[in-house]
């Protein structure tokens, strides 16, 4: 099992989710995060004070997948999240030791 953690543009979430769903991956956990990197911040003005916000809204998708689906899942995410402009985000892959489905107490690949 691997955990795929994709940090993407918020506006791409729906498309990624749908495409993964069509492939058959429905289970995922989504978090709203902020991130910084190469992407330029945005500027706001309040009564003459100019602020630059450099932590930009992103969405983090976490999916635990059996190894055999990993590459396909990555491909789908990249395809649907890519715009080619700075700020598209990253995917990180982590090892997972075990998984449990709380409802049934199943363990391992059955659980995901």
């Amino acid at each position: 099992m691997r955990k795929v953690e994709a940090i993407i543009r918020p506006e791409k979430l729906e498309k990624v989710k749908e495409s993964l769903g069509q492939f058959g991956i429905r289970g995922m956990t989504v978090t709203h995060v902020t991130g910084c990197g190469l992407q330029k911040g945005k500027t706001e003005v309040y009564r003459g004070s100019v602020y630059t916000i450099d932590l930009l809204p992103k969405v983090k998708i976490e999916i635990v997948v059996p190894e055999e689906y990993l590459e396909e899942a990555l491909k789908i995410i990249i395809e649907n999240a890519k715009t080619g402009h700075i700020g598209d985000g990253k995917i990180f892959i982590y090892p997972v030791e075990d998984a449990i489905r709380i409802r049934t107490e199943e363990r391992g690949e059955q659980a995901i």
Partner: protein, 462 residues
Amino acid sequence: MRFFVAAVLWWVWWSSLSGTAWAAETQNINTGDTAFLLVASALVMLMTPGLALFYGGMVRRKNVLNTIMQSFIVMALISVQWILIGYSLAFGPDVGNIIGNLSWAGFHQVGLAPNPDYAPSIPHQVFAAFQLMFAIITPALISGAIAERMRFPAYLLFVLLWATFVYDPLAHWVWGVNGWLRNLGALDFAGGTVVHISAGVAGLVAALVLGQRKGYGKLPMPPHNLPMTVMETALLWFGWFGFNAGSALAASELASNAFITTNTAAGAAVLGWMFTEWILHGKPTVLGAASGAIAGLVAITPAAGYVTPLSSIIIGVIAGILCCLAVSVLKKRMGYDDALDAFGCHGIGGTWGSLATGLFASQAVNPAGNNGLFYGNPSLLMTQFIAVLAAWSFVAAVTFVILKVVGLLTPLRASAEEEEVGLDLSQHGEDAYPDMPVAALQVDNGNEGQVAAEILVGKSMP
């Protein structure tokens, strides 16, 4: 369709009866008084949505729309009920000192000429409109006691029956020509018994019948938006000028006295509540200050046109202290779940105000009133006590019966799951801030949903 046209024509014919009546008798209104009462009516009308959000700010996020709706829908229901029968029951020609008859139903006889029995210098319809706003806010006040757990259809039914069988008769007793409490000499300037005691006591009964919210006393249930609650407190304060000063029914010296006593009592009660809480809990809370304003406004309501500004300071301070103790000590001891303290503020505050009228009333302020205990006349206090007792018993009994009847027709209480998921979603299929968790991060809100498409369940990993 033919039936529909016939019904409309009958309706028009019925309404034209009153129409012709009033065009003839138009005469003699005072424009200043009329202007004042029209505006006062608008101010009192504004109190109900104010209450909606006052309450709405104090519930948890998942119940805010339902709580708001519980006040808002009363505006719709009673606006129509009042025209059809409510006004006639409350203020129409007396039947046995208990209730009005139905001869003013559909606003027959309620025309544009003044009705000298009630308000000699303004159109009768303006008086009726002003009173309508009181009939609206009273049932809405009850919703604070049963917030976060009552099913909406049951609430609709309850409100309609309560307005008809509790509010309308009680208003007749106290304010209607030949109402028995009015004949007895009980003083209620702007609704201490009719509005506040009745709503507060009904709230207590309803809270007991419905039972506690799931997790009450074990889980914290803090307000979800206090700035909203404070703002609406102020809007209530603002509207209360219409409520109390408007109850003089003219832009007169009496209105002026009611205006200043109302404001003073509110201010004094804020201080009373705030310092009590400061002593009890070590900090002066903002919600406490806001609650104090309501307590003071409630308590001065029956007294506003009978007492001096200095007396209103005492009435206010004591109201603030009493209500603070009621919600933070009494409620905890007794264990009833009066969610937003409808009883704690309106029941207790209204009772204190009605009795205080028996203490502080002075004919030097209002010759049409009476002197209270401190002005040498103990009998008024007795009369006020009887009025309070009568209101408490009548309201408690009839409210209980109505709830039981409604409960036979449809369940009163939301199911455990409905309560868990929140009444907004379960009763109305809505979310108060649907765009918030997402858009808080400027996500296009489309991302969290699909239009009109149910999720395919059961399809998992391939």
